[in-house]
Symmetry: C2
Subunit: 334 residues, 2 copies
């Protein structure tokens, strides 16, 4: 029985949250931390995580040095959303023989699209015998793993609907800015390409993959949700007619028949935040989850995947490949 | 890409349901069937499953012969609830190198109690390189896998409550008799040892196992639910004062603090049938599922575990060891 050596790669808001959860777990030993921010490099990780005591772990910008000296078994990677952008970071982790649990949204289902770097990373991970997972609350859990888990009780699945409603007004500032809280509709249209949630196509593909379905068409919409009364969320005031956030929708078709729809409302003041999935089939099934807060639960899911990723097959894997993920807190028998 | 060769072992009500689902799946090929009932032996499996056409598969009482000739990769085993009773059946399946998905309730968490036969079967399964799984809707899903899946979104789990409410009046006759629908309270007391649901201790242990918790105490209650008005369920009339079914409860403790409670109400006329789990921790989480009908969903869960059990490690395994179970309907790449 022994604890698992983990390291942190990326100490932004998500990485800090992940680090705090990892530190709280008796079966994990945090052994290293990487970030390139000048205000973090050289500082003690304990202080970066808001503790009043040192951990004796210095944050470094040199991933290679950290991986060589600290020898983590699993790296909790929380930097960017794009596979192309994180590829050099993932590559160096794999080369040091460590497994990866990443919150990079595109890694939640990396096989979507033809990206040579995905095949290259998969080959390298298989060669080195380590699993590389993309996860988080969304993508990674609420709109993909949960619907698939529900389908386990179905004799036949005809159609899957998934809804996620999040009150963006309760989230951290970067998230509010990401969904456009307070901007004008014109600004929303200009910034349309970079606004909203990243990961809906990945969740759609992960659900289809888990059902053995090959989608031959998808449709996607992204609309602003508009304020009809003045409101204030944290430091942001929203005048009537301005944007509160986003309503996104993606649908997957087989032979022109809609089979999966994922519907995400993420806006300030959204009433009744919750997650729900409805399966039409034999039998009809419905699940509702309350409490899946984005930041809090992304940190939880990432840390809870650490023990599972140790038992996963080598290569780029998805939540489908992992043994049942749970809040396991005991040392591993090995 | 090829379909998976499966065989049926046991053609009672559950086995028949499992067989129908297996037949409906394009990625499964049903290759054999075993039952000892004289009215089934020698008949064509298609007719036993209610089809109007033959499948060319004769039901046999000789498991060894079926396994030798049909060479299934996975056997769907639905006979009895006791590990001791099913051990000889499981043993012969393992010896033929087939994997097992069994609805034997005690196999859902076989490590509970000191049973030499469990260690023996585990050793044999490891030696032969096959996984042996116990599952179903309950135990196997509603009161164990679902709570663990919910815990994946928790940073910290302090307490887990699970409720299952089933209207026994909507179930098949053997289930109604099993929970005592229509009997007197005196009869209930006499038959107490054999009445009610099998699997609550297994679910409790499976939840604790998935959280890495070692329980040092358990408490269990079983009470009849009494009719206060005359009612009729199928062929059974229930007079006021007689039994409608059961209310069972099991609790797990660590150092005298309750950490897990599973509460099961299975009685005729139970209002609002549903499943729910509540986790107290960081954050608090709540899930509710509607539609988990016992017989329909046990057949679904068992068949949906077939592809997952092919990818599981050898030995006696639980739902914790399987990759994410879903209603996967495509041929396997191998």
């Amino acid at each position: 029985m022994s604890s698992i050596r983990v390291a942190l790669f990326g100490l932004g808001p998500i990485g800090i949250g992940v680090g705090k959860v990892a530190l709280s777990r008796p079966n994990l030993e945090v052994v290293g931390a990487v970030d390139i921010a000048p205000q973090l490099v050289g500082r003690d990780l304990g202080r970066c995580l808001g503790s009043d005591r040192d951990l004796g772990i210095e944050v470094t910008a040199d991933a290679h040095a950290m991986l060589t000296e600290a020898r983590p078994e699993v790296v909790l990677h929380c930097t960017q959303s794009s596979v192309e952008k994180v590829a050099p970071q993932i590559r160096v982790i794999i080369q040091h023989g460590a497994r990866v649990v990443s919150t990079c949204e595109e890694l939640a289902f990396p096989w979507h699209g033809e990206r040579p770097v995905v095949k290259e990373l998969d080959g390298l991970a298989r060669e080195k015998g380590v699993a590389v997972l993309g996860t988080g609350i969304n993508p990674g859990y609420a709109m993909d793993t949960v619907p698939l888990m529900l389908s386990a009780a179905a004799q036949r699945v005809d159609h899957v609907s998934v809804w996620r409603v999040q009150d963006a007004g309760l989230r951290r500032l970067p998230l509010m800015l990401k969904v456009g809280v307070g901007i004008t509709v014109e600004e929303f249209e200009i910034r349309r390409a970079t606004i909203g949630h990243i990961g809906l196509p990945e969740s759609l593909r992960l659900v289809a993959d888990g059902l053995g379905w090959t989608l031959d068409g998808t449709e996607r919409t992204l609309e602003p949700v508009i304020a009809d009364a003045p409101a204030k969320f944290g430091d942001i005031s929203v005048e009537p007619g301005r944007v509160l956030g986003v309503h996104e929708n993606i649908r997957g078709f087989i032979s022109d028949v809609e089979r999966i729809v994922l519907d995400l409302r993420m806006y300030a003041g959204a009433p009744d935040p919750h997650d729900a999935t409805e399966i039409k089939g034999v039998p009809d099934l419905r699940v509702r989850i309350d409490g899946l807060h984005g930041d809090v639960c992304t940190a939880a899911v990432a840390v809870n995947c650490v023990t599972a990723v140790l038992r996963a097959r080598p290569g780029l894997v998805t939540m489908r490949d992992l043994p049942l993920v749970s809040a396991y807190t005991k040392d591993l028998e090995r």
